[in-house]
């Protein structure tokens, strides 16, 4: 990140002698420029931050769940497979060598990206983005609800699990003074993945997380009243949650993540997913102790008129590609400490159905991006798309369990030592890791 990043459009000069429009702890660390800015003009929390030890390089994980069973075979296209074109006469994506805007973006001579994901091509080729194909949950269910449940609880086949794997992962790395924002889900409800004993917050909108009344001054009065009541309450359970709530509101207010504009020319787009990713970026920049973030997006269940290079899937992928690429751009150097992973409850049938769409399948693809990722490769053993190689005679067969991928990320990136409590009942064998994470 250079000085240029901090040039406010209105103040074209560099920051010598002038206060930069936005400053963060990172800026000070880099510049050693405490002297540049009058200490008395600095907000209190920054003063404390400067006095404190520098950031520990805490690792962060962002999980994106595509709900509805995204069509992995049209997202990462196996154009090297003849059968792919035979099975999808109307919706297959043309090979790269055909040329033109509708063709797959070549990744490695066998696989290509759907053209709407072109924005992610450069990330792959710069070795920042890795893909795992034919990955997913081994459970044969084709019910969206059950499969999502299994993927979020981390125990495929077992319905009695109460909590989620991401929450259990947090529990294995106990944190003494954990920020209330340690685990955040973007949206109104806490997903299964984050349910459990470790505290997690559901954040529908970073700008709206506060007590709201007729006007903001009344809001503050009411907030004060509530905060005092809960702090004094003899009700143990509610006092705990109440205190957490107000700490969180306060922290978010002071950090004001809403003020962070996307940097490095990143444009997230106007889609709900893009906006959520932008807010994730803001939370990460606000340095409020966030370690794991969750966001989901829907609409992937294209049984009818899925479309090939153009169509429903293409539209979704355009939003996804734009958002993810923007996120990487926006994060800049921070990406060193972040891993971004996507997943979907299962894939779709290899053959298209009678309605120019696809039905529920089995294995899918996962995207993994970040500083610790050995990108530029499509991992996993490709099972092939010949008749005998398909799962149940209809779907892409599974060769990598999603828990291997997540386990490797948790172990090598987040530093989780014991995976057994995170994925009980799974072998969690490090030798079976795909090797996509450094270390």
């Amino acid at each position: 990140m250079s000085n240029d990043d901090f040039k406010h459009p209105a103040t074209k000069e560099c920051c010598e002698g002038r206060r930069p429009a936005r400053f963060s702890r990172r800026y000070f660390m880099k510049q050693g420029g405490v002297a540049m800015v009058g200490l008395n003009t600095m907000p209190a929390f920054l003063r404390r931050a400067i006095a404190a030890t520098p950031a520990s390089g805490k690792k962060q994980l962002v999980v994106l769940f595509q709900r509805g069973a995204a069509d992995g075979l049209n997202i990462v296209v196996p154009f090297g497979e003849q059968n792919y074109y035979r099975m999808r006469p109307t919706i297959a994506i043309p090979e790269p060598r055909r040329g033109g805007a509708d063709c797959a973006v070549d990744l490695d001579g066998f696989f290509g990206l759907h053209p709407s994901l072109a924005a992610l091509g450069p990330l792959f080729h710069k070795n920042e983005l890795a893909i795992v194909h034919a990955a997913g949950s081994p459970d044969p269910t084709r019910s969206h609800f059950d499969a999502q449940d299994f993927m979020e609880s981390g125990t495929p086949g077992l319905k009695s699990t109460d909590d989620g794997w991401l929450n259990r992962a947090l529990e294995t790395i106990p944190e003494e003074n954990a920020s209330p924002f340690r685990a955040v889900a973007m949206g109104p409800n806490l997903p299964r993945m984050l349910r459990g004993t470790a505290p997690a917050i559901a954040l529908p909108d970073v700008k709206q997380f506060k007590v709201m009344a007729q006007n903001s001054s009344m809001g503050q009065v009411a907030a004060g009243g509530f905060e005092a009541m809960y702090a004094q309450s003899v009700d143990h359970a509610l006092r705990g949650t109440g205190t957490e709530t107000f700490e969180a509101i306060d922290m978010l207010r002071k950090a004001d993540p809403g003020k962070y504009q996307p940097e490095n020319g990143a444009d997230y787009g106007k889609s709900r997913l893009g906006q959520s990713l932008q807010q994730i970026g803001q939370l990460l920049k606000a340095d409020i102790g966030t370690e794991v973030l969750f966001v989901d997006c829907g609409g992937w269940d294209n049984h009818v008129n899925e479309g090939g290079a153009q169509g429903q899937l293409s539209n979704l992928l355009r939003d996804l590609g734009q958002g993810v690429a923007a996120f990487r751009q926006d994060m800049g150097d921070r990406m060193e400490n972040i891993v971004f992973v996507t997943m979907s409850e299962f894939g779709r049938t290899a053959k298209e159905n009678g309605n120019r769409g696809t039905d529920h399948g089995h294995a899918n693809c996962m995207f993994v991006m970040g500083g610790d990722v050995k990108g530029g490769k499509v991992y996993g053993r490709w099972p092939g798309l010949n008749e005998g190689q398909l799962n149940d005679g209809r779907d892409l067969a599974l060769t990598t369990d999603f828990r291997s991928v997540l386990g490797e990320i948790l172990r090598k990136h987040n530093g989780v030592k014991e995976l057994a409590p995170v994925f009980p009942g799974f072998e969690n064998d490090p030798r079976k890791f795909t090797g996509l994470i450094r270390g």
């Binding site: 559901a202 007590v211 309450s233």
Partner: protein, 467 residues
């Protein structure tokens, strides 16, 4: 006690121009008569909300909610959204205080449950083969008019797989035992799950899209004998499933599981074992009579102890309904209230897993949800919830004064049944003496704001979160 704000109070307020938003104006998208499929569930939710607020048979509403959650069905799964209306009205409500066995039998046959837990697809894997053979036999006999006898159709296993021959689906079999009757530790095995599933093959839906009625399809029913928890089931036809239901509802684990759930709902997250034991006995001796079990519970000493008082955290639905009732809010369109219930964490009819919503405090008490409760209290008290009309001023009657202590005591009387921790009251009083709030009191039109904040604060208090 519910008080309706008098007409004069409302018109008086309007004359003073105090309310900048006309609370009677309901936006189009809330009162829409489009035919979107989601509308069905929205209307169901609105009806449920209305009943909870206005019904004089409150226990019935609570039991309906309890049993619906126990026999949970997720509205967003395909056709289920259309089946729920009848499910709630014809299957759950009539038996909510009746016999447990009737609930199990009727839910087992309901299209809603058959669809949600996939039992309508469950078939004996050998059925296709059996039918093909029978067809062949019939054709052979017919062929006796001098035509060529038709050869027996080949049993091509791969061809059959391709046709996706229907097989056994264990979903309902498992949940019937794990969630509806015995409980997860009730003493059944995986083998039992399979056997129960076999008993219920054939329990299907006539035509999910056009004629969603229960139908027993003999052709896909597994006719071979089964062994469920040591008992041999071989009565044939529908009787297999019926026998299983009989077996399960009479099992001691069921009596305990259901009694525990009821006690957890009404008394505490960790109900006293003595109470549960007593209720279990009644369940057994009354052959699963829910009213009798409730009677035992209510007349037990444990129901009336100090520990039981306000031991439970209100669920989001209870919280919203109780707030509206205690404020005497007039509700024209409950949709925004329904939306708030969702925001606070319990979107009605949208519980995805068959376990239903949890009944324990830790499911409801988390940071985001608590903030939403507080914001709801302020919005409702401040008359900011569209489709509803709250008049905080009218509740306090003509006693509106500048004495914050008096008002506070009145609020505690009205909303908390006079029961609030001294800490809470003192803290609130200090807050009310804040210059901003005091200043508001000096101006007449703005007085409304002040009472709204007070009311909002009391509704958001820890005491009001409990029951």
């Amino acid at each position: 006690m519910k008080q309706s704000p008098s007409n004069s109070a409302t018109t008086g307020a309007q004359k003073r121009g105090a309310l900048s938003v006309d609370p009677n104006a309901v936006p189009r998208n809330i009162a829409d008569d489009s035919k979107r499929p989601q509308r069905v569930v929205e209307e169901l939710a609105m009806a449920k909300m209305t009943r909870a607020i206005y019904s004089e048979r409150q226990l019935q509403q609570v039991m309906d909610d309890f049993w619906f959650n126990h026999f949970n069905v997720y509205a967003a799964k395909g056709e289920d959204r259309y089946y729920l209306t009848s499910y709630e009205r014809d299957v759950i409500a009539p038996h909510a205080l009746g016999k447990f066995k009737d609930l199990v039998t009727d839910t087992a046959k309901s299209p809603a449950m058959l669809f949600y837990l996939d039992n309508f697809l469950s078939a004996d894997p050998k059925a296709a083969q059996r039918l093909a053979q029978e067809r062949a036999m019939r054709q052979q006999h017919r062929g006796g008019f001098g035509r060529y006898p038709r050869p027996m159709p080949q049993q091509n296993p791969t061809a059959q797989k391709k046709k996706q021959a229907r097989g056994l689906n264990e979903n309902y079999g498992r949940e019937l035992m794990e969630l509806h009757t015995l409980g997860v530790d009730g003493g059944y095995t995986q083998k039992d799950v399979t056997e129960v599933a076999r008993c219920f093959t054939g329990w299907t839906i006539e035509n999910p899209r056009e004629n969603p009625e229960f139908k027993f399809d003999e052709r896909i029913h597994d006719p071979d004998p089964k062994l469920v928890m040591g008992k041999k089931i071989h009565s044939g036809g529908m009787k297999d499933g019926e026998q299983v239901i009989e077996l399960l509802v009479r099992h001691p684990s069921t009596a305990k599981f259901i009694s525990t759930k009821l006690a957890r709902r009404f008394v505490s997250d960790t109900p006293p074992p003595a109470l549960v034991a007593r209720m279990t006995e009644t369940f057994k001796s009354s052959d699963g009579d829910i009213r009798a079990v409730m009677h035992t519970m209510i007349y037990s000493p444990e129901f009336w102890t100090r520990e039981a008082y306000r031991a439970k955290i209100k669920t989001p639905f209870e919280f919203v309904a109780s707030s509206v009732r205690v404020l005497g809010t007039e509700v024209d369109t409950p949709m925004p209230l329904v939306q708030w219930v969702g925001r606070i964490g319990e979107p009605l009819y949208q519980c995805q897993p068959p376990t239903g919503y949890s009944d324990k405090a830790d499911a409801w008490v988390n940071t985001g949800a608590l903030l939403n409760r507080l914001n709801f209290s302020l919005a409702l008290a401040g008359n900011k919830v569209r489709g509803s009309r709250t008049d905080a001023l009218a509740l306090f009657g003509t006693q509106s004064s500048a004495d914050s202590r008096q008002l506070l005591d009145r609020a505690v009387q009205l909303f908390l049944g006079g029961q609030a921790a001294p800490n809470t009251v003192e803290t609130l009083q200090k807050q009310l003496n804040d210059p901003q709030v005091m200043q508001a009191k000096l101006d007449d039109p703005v007085k409304q704001v002040d009472l709204a904040i007070l009311t909002g604060l009391v509704l958001g208090a820890p005491e009001f979160q409990r029951r």
